[in-house]
C-alpha cells in the first residue's frame, strides 16, 4: 500500500513546492498588473525592472556583499571544520561544536538585534565600527554563513579516508603541506557548495541586514521587502523569474558537471 501512497504524496508535495514559483514566472509576463485579469503577454515589467535604479544599485551591493562574505565565511568555516574533525586532542571541542550550531537555528531577529547592539556598544567604547553600513553587514553575514560552511565541510571531511592524509605525513610532508597538497584538493567540491550556500544565504538575508545596516547601504532584499509590503508588484515578479532562471541554469550545469566527473 505504501507503494501507491508515497508516490502520490510525493507528487503532490512537488506540485506544492513548484506551483508558486511557476505562478511568479507566469505573471511576470502579464501585461495587466492585476492577478485576476490576464492582459496578454508582455515583457514590459522586465524593462521597468532594468530601468529601476534603486533596485539595480541594491542588487549590485548585495552581490558585492555576497561574494566577500561567502569567501571569508568559507575560509573561517573550513578552519573550524578542520579543527572539529581533524585536530586531535583539542580541549573544548564540544563547546566549539555547540557554538557553531547556534547560527544555524537562531532566529534572524535575535542575531540581527544582538549584532546591532554589539556594534553600537563597540562604537561607543572603541570608536569602531563608525556608523553602520557595508562593514557591519559584512561582519554579520560572515558570522552566520561560516556556520553553514562548517557543516558542509565537516560532513565531507569525516567521510574522507584519513589514511590518505596519513600516507602523505608518512612520506615526509609537514601537516601544513598535507593540508594544501592533499586535503584541500579532496574537499574542493564541499568548499564550492559551502561558498554557494553562503553566497545564497547572504544574498537572501533581510532581517539581519535591516538591523545592522545604515544609511546608504540598502540591500536588494530590503528594497524588495519595502515594495511587497504594499502588495503585488510585477517588476518583482520579473526579478524573481530572472533569479529562478539563473539558479536553474546553475543547478543544471553543476549536475551535468558532476555527471561528467563520474
Amino acid at each position: 500500500m505504501k507503494l501507491r501512497f508515497t508516490p502520490i504524496m510525493a507528487l503532490l508535495g512537488f506540485l506544492f513546492l513548484y506551483g508558486p514559483i511557476v505562478s511568479l514566472v507566469v505573471y511576470s509576463f502579464n501585461k495587466s498588473k492585476l492577478v485576476t485579469v490576464w492582459g496578454g503577454w508582455s515583457t514590459k515589467w522586465y524593462a521597468e525592472l532594468f530601468a529601476n535604479e534603486q533596485i539595480i544599485s541594491a542588487a549590485l551591493l548585495s552581490l558585492k556583499i555576497g561574494v566577500i562574505a561567502a569567501s571569508v565565511a568559507t575560509v573561517l568555516g573550513t578552519m573550524m571544520a578542520m579543527v572539529l574533525v581533524r585536530f586531535k586532542r583539542v580541549r573544548g571541542k564540544s563547546l566549539m561544536s555547540g557554538m557553531i550550531t547556534g547560527p544555524l537555528v537562531m532566529p534572524d531577529v535575535i542575531i540581527g538585534l544582538s549584532l546591532l547592539l554589539l556594534f553600537v556598544a563597540m562604537e561607543a567604547l572603541l570608536g569602531w565600527p563608525s556608523g553602520r553600513g557595508l562593514t557591519t553587514i559584512l561582519i554579520a553575514h560572515i558570522t552566520f554563513c561560516m556556520a553553514f560552511v562548517t557543516v558542509v565541510v565537516q560532513s565531507r571531511l569525516s567521510d574522507m579516508d584519513d589514511a590518505i592524509e596519513e600516507a602523505a605525513l608518512d612520506l615526509g610532508a609537514s601537516p601544513t603541506r598535507v593540508f594544501f597538497d592533499i586535503t584541500l584538493p579532496m574537499i574542493t567540491p564541499a568548499l564550492i557548495s559551502g561558498w554557494l550556500l553562503a553566497f545564497t544565504l547572504s544574498l537572501d538575508d533581510l532581517v539581519i541586514s535591516s538591523f545592522v545596516s545604515g544609511p546608504g547601504a540598502t540591500t536588494l532584499p530590503m528594497v524588495i521587502f519595502s515594495k511587497v509590503r504594499l502588495g503585488v508588484s510585477p517588476d518583482i515578479n520579473a526579478l524573481a523569474s530572472l533569479i529562478v532562471l539563473v539558479v536553474s541554469i546553475g543547478i543544471i550545469v553543476s549536475a551535468l558537471l558532476m555527471r561528467k566527473k563520474r
Partner: protein, 375 residues
C-alpha cells in the same frame, strides 16, 4: 642475486651478540582503560621480513602504527637503528608505510604519487622523476606513469603503494595487511614478488597480517600476537612444529589437540594419558607427574589405513567425513572415546579403492609428531 646480506640466510637472531635494528621495549598503548598493546618487547634485525600475526583485535595494527608514528605509546620506548624514535612525528621518521587500502592520492597520477615522498625530501624534480621511472620498472609498472589510481586494478594499485613507500629507501618498511584485498592467485604471485623485492633492496620489512599462510610464506620470523601481547616469536618452522601454546598451535595451520595429564615423564619415555588412551611423545624436561597439558599432532603427520598401522601411537576410529581437495584428501575420523581427529593424506595417482565414509580405520603417528603444550 642480491648484494645485501640476507637475514634469511644469516639468521642473526640466533646469535646473542647480534645488534637488533628495531628495538621495541615494554611498549603499552591504552585507549581509555583498554590496553590494545600490553607491555610488548621485541627485537627485529636488519634485513628481516618480520610478520606480526594474529586475529582481529590482537593489537598488531596498533603496534605497527606506533612504529610508524601515528600513535604515541602510553609507555615504553622504540629504537630504530640505534636512535630513540618514541616521540618523533610520523613525517620525520625513517620509516615508510604501505597502507591496507593503499591510500593512493586520488587526484595525482601514478608518477606523482610515487614521486611525492622524494619531492618532500627536497630531491630536484628531474632526479626524482628518473628514480620514479626506475622504481616503476622494479615493480613492473612501467608504462603506467600517467594513469590515475582509479584506472588501476587492485594489484596494480598495491604495487604503486609499494613503489611510493620504497622509493624513499626507508630504513624500515611497514606493511599493513598488504595482500588482504587481492584474490588468491594474485596473492600467491605477489607474495613471491614481495620477497624478491625485499631481498633485492635489503630493506627491513615488518608485515602485519591475520593470514597464517601468508606469514609462513613471507617471513624470516613470525611474532604471534593475542590480546595485546606477543605469545611466541620464532622462525616459521619452529612456530609450526613446536608451538608454545594451544593458541599458537591452533592458529597456525590445522592441528589436533588431545587434552590429558602426565603418566610417565622419564628421560627416555614420555607418556600422556588422554581420553583416547596413552599418547607417546618426545621426552621433555621440567614436567611433573599428573600435570595437566595438551598434545598437538599435525594432520599430515598421521597415517591412515584399513590395516593396523605400525607406529609409536595407534588408535582406531570411524571415518565420518571425507573432503576431496584434488591434491590431498582431508578425513575426519571419530575415535572410540568420541574425539574427532583430522587427517590429511596426499592422493596417489591410481587410488582405485579410496577410503570413504563409515569405514573403520587405523591411524598412527610417531612420538616425534606429538608436540607437548603446557599452556
Amino acid at each position: 642475486m642480491s648484494e645485501h646480506i640476507l637475514a634469511a640466510e644469516t639468521k642473526p637472531w640466533r646469535e646473542a651478540a647480534a645488534k637488533p635494528f628495531v628495538r621495541v621495549k615494554n611498549i603499552t598503548k591504552k585507549f581509555g582503560d583498554l590496553a590494545a598493546v600490553d607491555d610488548v618487547s621485541l627485537d627485529i634485525y636488519q634485513g628481516e621480513l618480520f610478520c606480526l600475526l594474529g586475529g582481529s583485535g590482537c593489537g598488531k595494527s596498533t603496534l605497527l602504527r606506533m612504529l610508524a608514528g601515528f600513535e604515541t605509546p602510553t609507555s615504553g620506548s622504540i629504537e630504530i637503528d640505534g636512535q630513540d624514535m618514541t616521540g618523533v612525528a610520523a613525517n620525520l621518521r625513517p620509516t615508510n608505510m604501505m597502507f591496507q587500502n593503499y591510500a593512493l592520492f586520488p587526484h595525482m597520477n601514478v608518477e606523482k604519487n610515487v614521486a611525492y615522498g622524494l619531492l618532500r625530501e627536497g630531491v630536484p624534480k628531474g632526479e626524482a622523476m628518473q628514480r620514479v621511472a626506475k622504481m616503476l620498472d622494479l615493480v613492473k609498472l612501467d608504462g603506467f606513469a600517467s594513469r590515475k589510481p582509479h584506472q588501476l586494478s587492485g594489484g596494480q594499485q598495491q604495487r604503486v603503494a609499494l613503489a611510493r613507500a620504497l622509493i624513499k629507501q626507508p630504513k624500515l618498511l611497514l606493511l599493513d595487511e598488504p595482500l588482504g584485498a587481492l584474490d588468491k592467485k594474485l596473492r600467491e604471485e605477489t607474495q613471491f614478488e614481495l620477497i624478491r623485492i625485499q631481498e633485492d633492496l635489503g630493506v627491513t620489512f615488518i608485515v602485519v597480517t591475520h593470514d597464517q599462510e601468508e606469514a609462513m610464506t613471507l617471513s624470516t620470523r613470525i611474532g604471534v600476537m593475542d590480546a595485546g601481547k606477543i605469545v611466541q616469536i620464532g622462525e616459521p618452522r619452529q612456530i609450526y612444529e613446536t608451538p608454545d601454546s594451544k593458541y599458537v598451535a591452533d592458529f597456525i595451520g590445522s592441528v589436533n589437540i588431545f587434552d590429558g595429564e602426565v603418566d610417565v615423564a622419564a628421560p627416555d619415555l614420555m607418556r600422556i594419558n588422554t581420553a583416547e588412551g596413552p599418547v607417546v611423545c618426545e621426552p621433555l624436561a621440567g614436567l611433573t607427574a599428573r600435570q595437566k597439558l595438551h598434545v598437538a599432532v599435525r594432520p599430515e603427520r598421521i597415517k591412515l589405513s584399513r590395516q593396523p598401522v605400525e607406529a609409536a601411537n595407534t588408535m582406531r576410529g570411524m571415518v565420518q567425513e571425507v573432503a576431496y581437495m584434488g591434491n590431498l584428501s582431508v578425513y575426519r575420523v571419530q575415535l572410540a572415546g568420541g574425539q574427532f581427529v583430522r587427517v590429511t593424506a596426499a592422493n596417489g595417482l591410481h587410488d582405485e579403492n579410496p577410503i570413504s565414509w563409515d569405514e573403520e580405520v587405523y591411524i598412527g603417528w610417531s612420538a616425534a609428531a606429538s608436540t607437548v603444550l603446557t599452556q
